[in-house]
C-alpha cells in the first residue's frame, strides 16, 4: 500500500520533471533555430527583433556560476565552523538557541535579503571592494569588472548575500550529520588519548564528510536558482563582456529572466529566455542529483 503510494508519487514527480524539461525545450527550439549566433558560445543578448535574434548564454552563465560558487566558497567554511561549534563545543542550551537563530535566517524572504544587499551591504562593501581592487588587482578575480565597483551591484556583493542565504541549509544538514557520529567511535578515539579536536578529526569529520558535501551541493543548487535577491542587487546590463572578475555585474540567468519578463512580447523573444531557463534547470538538476548521489553512495550501505 505505502509502497504503491511511494512508487506512484515518485513516478509522478519524475514524469512532472520530464514534462517541464520537454516543455522548456519545445518552447525554446524555434528561437534557437532563429538564433544568428551560437547559443552556447556567445554572450550577446539582443532579442527584441524576432527576425534578428542574437542570444548566447555565456555571460549569464558566468555570472550565475560565479555568484553561486563565490557564495559557496564563503558559506562552506562558516557552516562547517558553526556546525562543529554547535555539536562539539557549545553547551547544550546555547547550542539550541544558536541553531534556532540560524534556522530563522532560512525563513527570511529573499526579497528582504535583496533589499539588504542593495541598500545596506552593497554600499558598505564598497571600501573593501575598492581596496581589494587597488591592492590585489593583479589577481584576476579582483581586477576591474564590467560594471562600476562603486555601484555595488557586483558578483562580489551578490555572492556575499547569497552566502548568508545558503548558510542555514548547509549548517543544518552538517549539524544533523555530525550529531549522528556513532558514540562508540567517539569513545574509541577518546580512549586513545585524543583531545577534543583530535576526536573531531578522527571520527566526526570522516563520518560527516559526505553529509557536509551534499549539504553544500544543496546550498549550491539554491544559490544557482536564486532570483529575487540577485535581481535587486546586480546592476543592469552594462553591455560589456565580463572580465572574469568578481567585480563583474550584469545578471544571472534567473535575474535576467525576471528582469526582462515584462518585455516578452512575442514567442520567439520569449523562447530565448526559455532556452536560458533550460540551462539553469539542467545545471541545478545536475547539482542536486550530485548531492543526492554523494549522500546515498557514502552513507546508505
Amino acid at each position: 500500500m505505502f509502497r504503491g503510494l511511494a512508487l506512484g508519487s515518485g513516478g509522478f514527480v519524475v514524469a512532472l520533471i520530464a514534462a517541464i524539461g520537454i516543455f522548456l525545450l519545445l518552447q525554446a527550439l524555434p528561437s534557437l533555430q532563429a538564433n544568428q549566433v551560437s547559443f552556447l558560445t556567445s554572450g550577446e543578448w539582443t532579442t527584441g527583433d524576432p527576425n534578428d535574434m542574437r542570444f548566447g548564454i555565456l555571460y549569464l552563465l558566468w555570472v550565475t556560476v560565479a555568484t553561486a560558487a563565490f557564495a559557496l566558497v564563503l558559506a562552506m567554511p562558516v557552516a562547517l565552523g558553526i556546525a562543529l561549534f554547535l555539536t562539539q563545543y557549545a553547551p547544550r542550551a546555547l547550542a539550541r538557541v544558536f541553531a534556532y537563530i540560524i534556522d530563522l535566517l532560512a525563513a527570511v524572504p529573499s526579497i528582504i535579503f535583496g533589499l539588504w544587499g542593495l541598500q545596506v551591504l552593497g554600499p558598505a562593501l564598497v571600501p573593501t571592494a575598492e581596496w581589494l581592487n587597488t591592492n590585489l588587482g593583479w589577481f584576476p578575480l579582483f581586477s576591474d569588472g564590467n560594471v562600476s565597483i562603486r555601484g555595488g551591484g557586483t558578483i562580489f556583493t551578490a555572492g556575499i548575500v547569497l552566502a548568508v542565504m545558503i548558510l542555514p541549509i548547509i549548517t543544518a544538514i552538517t549539524r544533523e550529520i555530525f550529531e549522528r557520529t556513532p558514540k562508540d567511535q567517539i569513545e574509541g578515539a577518546l580512549a586513545l588519548g585524543a583531545t577534543r579536536w583530535e576526536v573531531i578529526r578522527t571520527t566526526v569529520l570522516p563520518f560527516g564528510r559526505a553529509g557536509y558535501v551534499s549539504g553544500s551541493m544543496l546550498g549550491l543548487g539554491r544559490a544557482l536558482g536564486e532570483t529575487v535577491a540577485l535581481y535587486l542587487i546586480l546592476s543592469g546590463a552594462s553591455g560589456r563582456a565580463p572580465e572574469l572578475s568578481l567585480f563583474d555585474g550584469d545578471a544571472t540567468i534567473a535575474s535576467k529572466i525576471a528582469n526582462d519578463a515584462a518585455e516578452f512580447n512575442n514567442e520567439i523573444s520569449a523562447g530565448a529566455y526559455i532556452a536560458a531557463g533550460l540551462v539553469l534547470f539542467v545545471l541545478t538538476f545536475v547539482v542536486n542529483a550530485l548531492a543526492r548521489w554523494i549522500t546515498t553512495s557514502r552513507t546508505g550501505k
Partner: protein, 258 residues
C-alpha cells in the same frame, strides 16, 4: 610499563544519581582482575572511572582517588587526555575507525601522540598486530579498511590499537560479549598473554570467563533499585569461585554457575 592501581573510597555519580558507593580495591601490575556482578551494578561505571572516560558524560563526576603507581589520576592539574594515553580501553562492541585502513587503525594512537616516522609506525603496527594475534590474518591487507574484518578480528584490531601506545593498564568492558565462542577463546588466550606486559581489568558477565582468565575477581552488587552499586568483595579468583567470604557472592555464583 605495567603499573598498579589503588582505588580508595571511590563514589561515582551521574548528576544527582549516586551510581557507585565507596569502592576500595587494588590491582597489582601484570595481573588480570575481573569485575563480575548483575547488570546495572556499576561495573562499567567503575571501569570507566579508572581512565577518566566517565567524565565525558555530562553531569558525571567522581569522589575519592584512583592511584596509578601512587599518583592520583584525579589529582589537580592532571590532564584526562594524558591519563587515557597511559590507560587504554577496549569496548563491548568492536569500534575500529571505519574509514581508516587496518594499519592506520593500529597506529592511530601513536599518530595522535605525534609519531610521524613511517618506519617506526610500521614496526609498532606489526608488533601490536602480532601482540593481538592478528598479524598472520591481516598482514597481506594492511591497507584495507578495518571494517571489513570479522567481529572477532575487529575486536583484536581494537586490542592492537590499544596496546600500540604501550599503555600501563588495559581496561576491557565485556570485550567478548558481541563475539562467537571461537573468537571469544582467541581473545581469552590473548588476555593471558597480554598480562605478561600489562595490568588488565576486565568486566565480564560470563563467569566461566572470569574463572579462566583472571587472577583476582571483584564481585559488585546492587542493594535495590535506585540504590548505588557496591563492591561486595575482591579476592583471588580461585577463592571467589570455591569459597567466597560473603554469602551474596556465593549465591550469585552458584545461581549462575550451577
Amino acid at each position: 610499563m605495567a603499573k598498579r592501581i589503588d582505588v580508595k573510597d571511590l563514589n561515582i555519580y551521574y548528576g544527582k544519581f549516586h551510581a557507585v558507593e565507596n569502592v576500595t580495591l587494588s590491582v597489582p601490575p601484570r595481573s588480570v582482575t575481573a569485575f563480575i556482578g548483575p547488570s546495572g551494578c556499576g561495573k562499567s561505571t567503575v571501569l570507566r572511572s579508572l581512565n577518566r572516560m566517565h567524565e565525558v558524560i555530562p553531569g558525571a563526576r567522581v569522589d575519592g582517588s584512583v592511584l596509578l603507581d601512587g599518583a592520583d589520576i584525579y589529582g589537580a592539574g592532571v590532564d584526562p587526555v594524558e591519563v587515557r594515553r597511559t590507560i587504554g580501553m577496549v569496548f563491548q562492541r568492536p569500534n575500529p575507525f571505519p574509514t581508516m585502513s587496518i594499519r592506520d587503525n593500529v597506529v592511530a594512537g601513536l599518530r595522535l601522540a605525534g609519531t610521524k616516522n613511517r618506519q617506526q609506525l610500521d614496526e609498532v603496527c606489526e608488533r601490536s598486530l602480532r601482540g593481538a594475534n592478528l598479524w598472520e590474518e591481516v598482514k597481506d591487507r594492511l591497507n584495507k579498511p578495518g571494517g571489513g574484518l570479522s567481529g572477532g578480528q575487529q575486536q583484536r584490531l581494537c586490542i592492537a590499537r590499544a596496546i600500540a601506545v604501550q599503555p600501563d593498564v588495559l581496561l576491557m568492558d565485556e570485550p567478548c560479549s558481541a563475539l562467537d565462542p571461537i573468537s571469544t577463546l582467541a581473545i581469552e588466550d590473548l588476555i593471558t598473554e597480554l598480562k605478561q606486559d600489562f595490568t588488565i581489568v576486565i568486566v565480564t558477565h560470563n563467569m566461566q570467563q572470569a574463572a579462566r582468565v583472571s587472577d583476582q575477581t571483584a564481585f559488585f552488587n546492587l542493594h535495590g533499585v535506585g540504590q548505588p552499586g557496591r563492591l561486595v568483595e575482591i579476592d583471588e579468583t580461585s577463592r571467589i569461585f570455591s569459597n567466597p567470604s560473603q554469602r551474596a557472592t556465593e549465591d550469585y555464583i552458584s545461581g549462575r554457575f550451577g
